[in-house]
Every structure is written in structure tokens, then in C-alpha cells.
Symmetry: C2
Subunit: 326 residues, 2 copies
């Protein structure tokens, strides 16, 4: 095999072991994959694309790029309450990366995440070109139980899983020339390249949450999507926002802004009726779910903002589209 393998060799060599999953009747190697959907389930389908210097720095490793791409897609499944099952990979790589070492790293990053979440790579293609990674994922959800953005009603309580601000802090660190000054750098790096998709939380929230979204554009922006889809508004309480204590110490001044507008969190923001709030509060108390109450769904009012913070207009969101290029 030459150092620049053909597409067929690429798929056969590096990605063939990633196809074991229930429901795969025919994996990689034909014109399409043949899949057996489960009875009484609906399919959830989502795509996400990562572009070099836009969604990750040019010096990211193949392993880092692969795990980030897959986790970002898994987060969409979590937001819908879906059990992820199968994915395809469209990998466009420049010639200088089409070598064994890079591809081995990439496929091992993919394999790690795929194994953790028991999902199978069932197809895709590799082409030469600028570095772009596009993944399309299929998940399943019992009929009628998918979480959507559109179900929030006035009086619902707003929750978020995990902690906020890590995604934006990681981004700031990666863009900074003084990485080493970040005492929390190892954790933040992992948060960026291997965010933890909230699949279990999403599944637990089926039939419980009235609305749900994953935070990829920033809390204000994504909660705004829930408000727009549901025809309501929302108010957040700044001091309730969960932020990692180490991070607060390092750069407390930035933390609130990061928590409100920073993208790339991949936590779930969801809403609960009064009845279901008590169920979820019980889960939280028992340590079954890590989530925090952060605000309330309110009446539509005349002001422009969909989301206020402590009843005040929220700071401008400028997350959501970050360039690593200069």
C-alpha cells in the first residue's frame, strides 16, 4: 500500500471495524448500508459539519477532530431524546493528511466515541480537498416521545445539564497564545474535543421535558430557539447558572458572559411543568441526573428580547460562529 491510499483502501483499512451494531444488515462496502429499524420507533436524523479553522484549530489532531465531530452529532440526538444508532462520515482531507498516521488517529478517535455510545459507522466517503468533516446520524425514539423545541409553556421551569461556560472558556484558551496559564487546561481541552453528549439525560427526559435543545450556539441563543418555537419568552437568574468552581477562580469576570453566550457547550437546556419538576428534582437529589434550575418560562411580552437575564435585556450573543483563522 502506498502512503496515499485509495478511497477503497481507506474505508476498508481504517473504518471497517466500526460497523458492529444491532440493526446493521449490510455495512460499508456496497452502494449503501442496509439497516433494520426497530418496530414502533421513529427515526431522528441530523447532520453536522466541521470545517478546519472554523470549528477547530488547524493544528488539531485527527483523533481530536474525529471525536469532536462525532460528539457534536451525538449531542443533537441527545437533544431529541433519541438513542443514537448509525452514522455516515463524509471526510474531505487534503493530500498531506491522507497518510496512515493521520488516518489511524482519526479512526481511533472515531472508534473510541462510537464504542462508548454503541453506534455504527455504516457508510460515507473520503475525498481529497480542504479538510471538512461531515457526519449524518440516525437515532431512534419511541413513537411520539421525541423531545422538541416547541413544547414550552408559560410557568415551566428552565433547567440545564452539567455546567456552563466551559465551551467558551476552552475556545478562549485555544485561541490564546498563553495556553499554559490556564490551570484548568486539561479539563477544558477535553471539553472542547470530547464534549460529553447528554444521551442518557435526553432519554430520561422523554415524556418529562416540555421542550429541549442542546447548547451549541450559546444559552441565550438556544433558549431563544425554544422560545421562538414555543411562542413564549424566558427569564434566567444569573446567580443560578452552574459554573465550574475552578473556572470561576481563573477568570470570574468572563464566566457569566461565557455561560450566557458561549457556544459549544453541548449541555441540554430543557423546560419542565410543575408536575414533572418534582420528578426531576428528585432525580437530581438522588444523583441520577446532574442538572440545575436556571430560570422560568414567561408570558410573551412586547419587548424584543426572547430571553432576559434577571429581568434585564441579555448581553448580545456573539458565540455560535468562531473562527480560528487569523
Amino acid at each position: 500500500m502506498s502512503d496515499q491510499p485509495s478511497e477503497f483502501e481507506l474505508i476498508a483499512t481504517y473504518f471497517k471495524d466500526l460497523t458492529s451494531q444491532q440493526g446493521v444488515a449490510l455495512g460499508i462496502g456496497d452502494d449503501g448500508a442496509l439497516l433494520n429499524p426497530s418496530p414502533d420507533k421513529q427515526l431522528v436524523m441530523a447532520s453536522d459539519t466541521l470545517v478546519e479553522s472554523v470549528h477547530f484549530p488547524a493544528d488539531a489532531s485527527g483523533e481530536q477532530i474525529a471525536s469532536r465531530a462525532l460528539c457534536v452529532n451525538l449531542s443533537d440526538m441527545a437533544a431529541m431524546g433519541a438513542t443514537p444508532k448509525w452514522f455516515t462520515l463524509a471526510l474531505t482531507i487534503p493530500k498531506h493528511l491522507a497518510n496512515k498516521q493521520w488516518l489511524k488517529g482519526f479512526s481511533s478517535g472515531l472508534a473510541d466515541v462510537a464504542q462508548e455510545f454503541d453506534i455504527a459507522l455504516v457508510g460515507g466517503d473520503t475525498t481529497l480537498g480542504p479538510l471538512v468533516v461531515s457526519i449524518t446520524m440516525i437515532g431512534e425514539v419511541p413513537v411520539g416521545q421525541a423531545l422538541q423545541r416547541s413544547g414550552a409553556v408559560v410557568g415551566d421551569t428552565i433547567y440545564v445539564t452539567g455546567t456552563l461556560a466551559d465551551g467558551a472558556a476552552a475556545l478562549a484558551m485555544l485561541k490564546s497564545t498563553k495556553n499554559n496559564e490556564y490551570v484548568d487546561s486539561k479539563r477544558l481541552l477535553k471539553r472542547f474535543y470530547r464534549p460529553q453528549p447528554q444521551i442518557e439525560a435526553g432519554i430520561a427526559l422523554r415524556n418529562i421535558a416540555s421542550a429541549c435543545i442542546d447548547i451549541s450556539d450559546g444559552l441565550i441563543a438556544d433558549l431563544g430557539h425554544i422560545c421562538a418555537a414555543s411562542g413564549v419568552k424566558a427569564n434566567l437568574v444569573a446567580e443560578w447558572l452552574p459554573i465550574n468552581s475552578q473556572l470561576l477562580e481563573v477568570s470570574a469576570t468572563d464566566c457569566l458572559n461565557w455561560a450566557l453566550t458561549g457556544g459549544d457547550e453541548y449541555q441540554l437546556c430543557f423546560t419542565l411543568s410543575a408536575n414533572n419538576k418534582s420528578i426531576v428534582d428528585q432525580w437530581i437529589a438522588e444523583g441520577k441526573l446532574m442538572a440545575t434550575m436556571i430560570g422560568q418560562i414567561t408570558q410573551p411580552h412586547n419587548s424584543e428580547e426572547l430571553v432576559t437575564v434577571d429581568q434585564q435585556p441579555a448581553p448580545d450573543s456573539n458565540g455560535g460562529f468562531d473562527h480560528f483563522s487569523n
Copy 2:
């Protein structure tokens, strides 16, 4: 709206009308699409990526790029005998194309093909970056009836739909500086940007063809994939290969080579047992299917070639990866 719309505006404005199709419970606008698979069907899933200057010339219009990308994906569905249903689009575009005019053209190219084949765009994303179009499609096929590459047996007859050599001729024309000399240019341009996916043929061949593939890498290469998957060899008869008569006149010397090794045909190559051959010959005689017998599946033998032409080694395939870049 500014001339460079945000991602949300992009999807809402240009692609929202493309979601009407049976089985779409929730289309664009949430974290994923929610789809209702049909009972007693298997899913077929396939992805294809088109990169500027690799799979289409840099001066191709948005409309041309969109229709080509969708047709290439539909061809994979045809090769599996699947009924195409839903697709996602991952569109990476450079800043200078993220304007109303280009996006309108792109979405109208997509809409034309989507309407013809009754398929729905159910999600995807748009990102700024180098021009890369990646489509993932889901189709359905009755359980156990998908066409595969692996079923050809010794004695089967080999057929191809439509005519060969058009894809390579179109490519040669597009790369030539003397486009106008091609008397057949209008037809060839359409063959390149709007190849006709053989969906109906694929569906008709369920339970009939022993193996099937679409010709994207070239006849020799793709028939070779059938041979490899089936553990057999194949012999083609050169004078049986169907070639458009106008094309033969223009450049007869190139035609055989184009027919054997040219990619981008998007015709189906399939194999038939003696019993099913008589059924298909009847369809052809009645004008229900346009297809031509081109050779025979043979015993595995010791020579290296999977595919021979008139019992001789086939010319080297150098199709399959064509650069438009200089």
C-alpha cells in the same frame, strides 16, 4: 436581511419548502428531523460528497452543483433497489457565494430534482468554508429485497441500463477549451449536471437481479466490485457496449475507452440468472426498460484481472478520480 444571511436564515429562506414528503413528522428547524419509517421495510443509507475542482469545475453554477450532488446520491439508492425518501444537506460555501443569487440557484436545482423523485430535505447545516457539498440519503426497500453487489454467480448475464461513455465524454468536454466543437454538447452537459438516476430500473430489478451496482468509477472498476464481492470474474463483449450514436460519430476512437473506464455514468450494471434474463429481455422488448446485455459472469480463474474484454485484459481504469484543477 443582509446579503450574507445567517445559517438560520439560510435554511429557513431557501430550503424550507423542500420538506414535504410522506413520513416526515418534523422537518427542518429542530435539532434533528423526526421520520416515520414504513412497516416491513429496511432502510438504505448512503452519503456522497462533491468538492469543487474535484467533482465539478469551479465555474459550475449553484443550480448545476445542487442537481448533480442530489442525482449522484439518488444513483446509490437506485443501485440498491431502494425508494429514496429523505436527505440531509451539509453545505460548506465560501463567503463570496453566500449571497441570495447563488443560494437561490442552488436551492432551485435541489428542488427540481427533489420534486421529480418525491424526496424531502429534512435537515443539514450550512457553514462558511471551501465549497463542499455532502448529501446523505435514506431510502426504503421491502425486507430482504435490496440489490447488492455480492449475488452474481457463474453463468449470469451482465446488463447495463442506458448508454455508456457519456459521463467521460462530458468530462472531456468540460475540461476542453474547445467546448463548442462538441456537437452533442447540450446533451452531454445535462448528462454531467443532471444524470438520470435509474430509480425505476432499480425498483423493477428487486428480486430479479442477482447483483447490481451503479457506474460511478467506470464499468470495469464497478463490475470489478461486483466480481470481488461475489467471488467471480466477468467477461465483456466490446461490440455489445451501448454507446450513443451521435457520440460515436464525434469521437469514435475514444468511445470504447470511455465506455469501459469512464466514471460518472450513473447507469446500473446488473447480473441476471437464465430464468430472470428472459423476464428482463421481455421488458426490454416491450420498451419498459432500456438496458443492454454486455457480457457474462465467468469462473474465477488464475489471471489477475477480475474483468476481461473479449477475453483480453481490460485497459487500465483511470477514471474515478478526476481533477478539474490544473
